[in-house]
Amino acid sequence: MNQKELENRLSQIKDKLISIEQLPHDRIYLLCESENSYPVNKFVFDDIGARFCIVTGVDSDDCFEILYHYSYDQTGCVITIKAFIRDRENPAIESIAPFLPGAEWIEREIHDILGIDFKNHPNLKRLILADDWPDGVYPLRKEVKK
């Protein structure tokens, strides 16, 4: 697939997305609600065949953003799925680790630092925080920074 074909292909999942943002240097952002993140990720990894890079968790005031970065190496395009978790009290999202074992660690890490519950994760135990770190304190949340 060339870049044009890739863009056409990505527009097939439009109904699951809020919008598609195209930035220069072949950077594409797919914005979606957290409920749709699983099918969108599965589409990008399985159907498009993009390579999984990493996930970024961001605490942005009114919601949490989970950014799934993929690289489509045939064209050098970086595809980022931006999923919004609106519920700040009990933030949760479906885990992608069942079909993508490469995401197992990073989901555990985001669980540690932002307190996001990854549903159906095969092994959601502590990864990067120390054993004596208090429960319920998430170091990358905005309120902790002050």
């Binding site: 220069p24 240097h25 072949d26 950077r27 390579r51 999984f52 890079c53 990493i54 970024t56 961001v58 950014l67 970065h69 690289s71 190496d73 045939q74 064209t75 050098g76 395009c77 970086v78 980022t80 993508l100 074992p101 490469g102 995401a103 197992e104 660690w105 990073i106 990864l127 990067i128 925080l129 120390a130 170091p139 990358l140 920074k145």
Partner: protein, 408 residues
Amino acid sequence: MKKTVKKPVIAVGPFHPLQEEMEFFQLTVDGEKVTDIDVRISYNHRGIERISESLQFDQIPFLVSRICGICSASHPLAYVQAVEDIAGAKPPERALYERTIINELERIHSHLLWGGLGGHIIGYDTVFMWAWKYREPVLDLLEEITGNRNNYGNVKVGGCREDIPNEIIPRILKELDKIEKKTEMLTNAVLDDPVLHARLKGVGVLTREDAIKYAVTGPTARGSGVAIDVRRDDPYAAYGDLDWSVITQTEGDVFAKAVVRLLETFESIKMVRQALKKLPDGPVTMEVKEIPPGEGIGHAEAPRGETFHYVRSDGGNRPTRHKVRAPSYVNVPSFKASCIGGDLADVTLTLAAVDPCYSCTERLAAVDRESKVIHDYEALLQMSRDKTARIKKELGVPGIKMEDLQIG
């Protein structure tokens, strides 16, 4: 009733005098076979992403170059590319070439370092001595160019901090010829050795399917037939202007990964030579006054694979979020696919084959399901070396010792 509870594992470490990072592997074994593997990381979590949010955009390259001493050129490069992505800045040509030169020299010394340590693990200390000896002049070149053997601190948003003076280019080219000759000798010696073939082939195989599922990068992926390389796929710095090849092997075993790294060293020498000869004239830096609000992604091919940086700005002078993914973060979990079912004597080597900054191997302990025997790192290293000795004996290779040689 048989107890299935595992005994506590005694770790060697947590700091080994030779290595700098720490990970803890707990292996469950059934006799000689590995049946399960559990990894604990983050003994050295420094909160780099959090610290980065408290620094100004210009200060961060110095922070991220300290993520890894060996990859201290590729992390800041990926970071500045992410920031330049937000700002829409295009650094001057000469700076792009100099970034390429420094990053390829880094790859040469990193691959030689790996070759040496790999030799050490299987009991080939001659390879270790050679590889590290030949690595020294590469570090000298980096020192001459940047002022430092590691942590070069040369890249900045909008270009490079220091220029490479044209006068030293002939000297670098001459030194490169010498390095190439020595590396060639080392490579031939390794590839010709029947013992190494017998010891490394078919060991720690990572299949192509698993390589994709675990999303591994760099030589770990290329050794399993996945032809990915950020330098070619999303060209940055001056890679698009140079003539070079992506090296792949299909077998996915330790030998394939070794071949990929050795041959890549030559491609890197080729690239440095071309970049030095084509080095355009002009400035090495441009002014980037403000970083506008937005988000940017930068990735670079480090010696161990893709280094990935995501930066978000709100228009202030510090990032609001900075995510870093080093290649080992995705390469290390692939041990689940490459170690289980393999020999205990091959574990140290298989873990080392992805070049995980090495620290992992020295904090290794294994629990035998039947006898509850705990093997520590020293014992596992010995097992690995004994297997090499056994293969040597079977092949009829004479075991020459230093004291047998007449010196003088």
